[in-house]
Symmetry: C2
Subunit: 503 residues, 2 copies
Amino acid sequence: MKPVRASPVHLKIKPIAINTFRENVLILSRDCHALRPERLKGSRKVEITRGSERLLATVIIAEDPLLVAPDEVGLTQPAFRRLGAPAGALANVASAPPPSATSAIFDKIRGDTLTPAQLTDVVHDLVDHRWSDMEIAAFLVACASFMTADETLALTDAMARAGKRLQWDNRLVVDKHCIGGVPGNRTSLIVAPIVAAHGLLFPKTSSRAITSPSGTADTMEVLARVDLDEQEMRAVVEECGGCVVWGGRVDLSPADDVLISVERPLSIDTPDQMVASILSKKLAAGSTSLIIDVPVGPTAKVRDTRAALRLRKLFEFVGSRLGLHIDVIMTDGSQPIGRGIGPALEMRDVLAVLRSASDAPPELTDKAVKLSGRLLELDPEVRGGQGEARARELLGSGAALKKMEQIAEAQGPSPISNAIGSLVHEVAAKKDGWIDGVDCLRIARIARLAGAPTDPGAGIDILKRKGDNVRAGEPLYRIHGVERADFDYAASAADAESGFHLT
Amino acid sequence: MKPVRASPVHLKIKPIAINTFRENVLILSRDCHALRPERLKGSRKVEITRGSERLLATVIIAEDPLLVAPDEVGLTQPAFRRLGAPAGALANVASAPPPSATSAIFDKIRGDTLTPAQLTDVVHDLVDHRWSDMEIAAFLVACASFMTADETLALTDAMARAGKRLQWDNRLVVDKHCIGGVPGNRTSLIVAPIVAAHGLLFPKTSSRAITSPSGTADTMEVLARVDLDEQEMRAVVEECGGCVVWGGRVDLSPADDVLISVERPLSIDTPDQMVASILSKKLAAGSTSLIIDVPVGPTAKVRDTRAALRLRKLFEFVGSRLGLHIDVIMTDGSQPIGRGIGPALEMRDVLAVLRSASDAPPELTDKAVKLSGRLLELDPEVRGGQGEARARELLGSGAALKKMEQIAEAQGPSPISNAIGSLVHEVAAKKDGWIDGVDCLRIARIARLAGAPTDPGAGIDILKRKGDNVRAGEPLYRIHGVERADFDYAASAADAESGFHLT
């Protein structure tokens, strides 16, 4: 059927100093006669074109002609920036049907599987910001009810192709990723310098915290600048053989960023979306071999071995079809790894491990060595079974620390403070007992409430671990804060429910 | 787990002359230090409280302090109206977790069924406008993948209870509803005066067009005022025994209006949502007996008898549990019913039937008589099988016409024109042939494109029906238009693809 649409009208562009985050939003006057906004009520979706630029946007209505006059179209950010036309220029505005790829939503709702071509169209629409948040939510939930492995494969492939794609000369480009959910656990910042010190290429792009108290990029930022663009990142990798930067300026798998902006507020975290998200980023980053850390525990993202196995198979299936060697490692997700939770506290632990300090958390060292060992054995020169020993050697000799210092210097000085928050509250055991469980979600929430990662010095310092015996009144962990109001909230939340379970 | 949230801050209310339709939207300054908007990125959801009033809203960011200053909170419409506080007053603003009822979304995604208590919480959140469009979309799509009959029952019940509930003294309160999808088909406007003329109570609230060229309320508005509030509606029903008003001012099942505002742009139209939507409105309107017209045809909402049967069972199950007697009638949905499509053209047909005019479309008369007959037989005084004869008697005697005139006068004079659009284009057959199908969707779209229902005189006048033989060049239908640009678009769309299939 031919598309049926109303005729466009010419309106003067007026930038409006409102930022609508990811979504394109236009403001039309209540009296914009030619467009008759009341007719848009069914869809609220319009297309604005100026020369060869074309945006789909959601409409809201100005009730005051001083804000937007009847012959004007108000462009909020980011729509104004994306259209790229000057204020006062004329643009065509027409009501628009939903983008054709949204039919994929209805196909999924009906229980159909989507073809690679359909999924490619969806990804292009997402990258061009043609879908509203509502449409993205509908697509994600429809996919959550079921997705075949082939669909996940096609989605991953389309996402990886839709942005920039880094190329490296090396035959072996390694990376390490954790699916998250366990506070602390900052192994990437130890694995990176070990592996790079050995001589394997480790060009790591990492994320900032979304719902956690710190992302790898947030913690690294305590030591060095992380918001490098592609050229700056390349220079660091060429000099050091590795880096740990924030991926946000490198434009890898931009469709993933769009999907995450909706998954996050809806807490959608299905295996399929996780695989497509992680692998599309790694493929775009030019990785050839990837270790994936899947913590398994009652309050981790993956709750049992069966779910972990299913996830592993999906990672392996998609990875093998797209030429990415994948090694999925299931790890202990029953409690935080390391002592510090929050950027500055985590960096303190990372440096303690790299310095082989006596107070380095042993489980953080052990886990980083284990993961590094698996990567090092990808080097034909390293004998099977010798990876961990080589990793310990690079740690013990100070080679890893030196590599980290080199990377940090190459990335540039940190723009933030490394001071640990001076407001301190100790959360005490309410009774004598044996710690039989730690709620990762609760600990993460309290650390975040204390101000992490916005205040790099805020967070939690864990003093006791699962299996320890404690006496009533003995401290379980310390909360560190920077802002008084946040700190007080975190302290009272922790006193009400600490997240430590004693029997 | 106890909720964990940031501390509230006091900001001055500033009304912003922007209308965001249904959703509550607040504007905070980029420099609103106390709230640190960058920390909201994860959720963008805040709670604003002033006295006992409390709203959940989505945040957008002002980049210009002249628009919203750091110590202000900008309230767009409808949020400003809903909070009900004056400009300049102080309100508390705090970041807010998603409303607890949104956990129902995740439960549905996981494949759980929801309890009546959960569904009641969802409905209360919807009525209080606590959910974003994104959350509503996620809920609807999660429900679309499967819903049990018990869930549909509980949702319907909760929706019916969540708004106003009309009470009538009569033991028997009848209504008639069509699930839609077939252009024209304006039987309610004929059934209402027939049934009311007989003496059954028929207090009809109807809807305006959403995606169709006219709703019952749009067509009635050509004859009389329809935007009556509850008191005005009661007065008309007391005087006339019936009415045909727009339901929008009567506040029946307000949760339904919220759901529809998201279902509509996403084209979500599942049997479960349809049953909950229709029956919650009818229960709230105080109906005791309801006839539901389910047109079945290849381009209607229901495509085959099996789907129609499943829908009938669901209507009957929910209706019987909630004390509403339901009679589902499957009708021919293979082509438009009546000749006119669009408010003025449809009202022309309705009046022709009520006047027993020689040019009254016979299939419209027959269908209205059939439906009226089923309702009339609910009267113990009418013998089984005599309903249709009684309906024809009321039509033929002029009693139904007189009743319609009485209702129209009681509702008040129409605020719009009843003139049929003077721009006319005839859409001709491109070859000789026999009409073996009419695409209802295409016809509806062309009529809407011509301007219906915004221009009441715009629409389509059907000249040929399924089964007719036509010669090349012979007109199939006429397009009527009011606005030249819309009319031209409709005409060219129709010439490209008429919606009539000839063999």
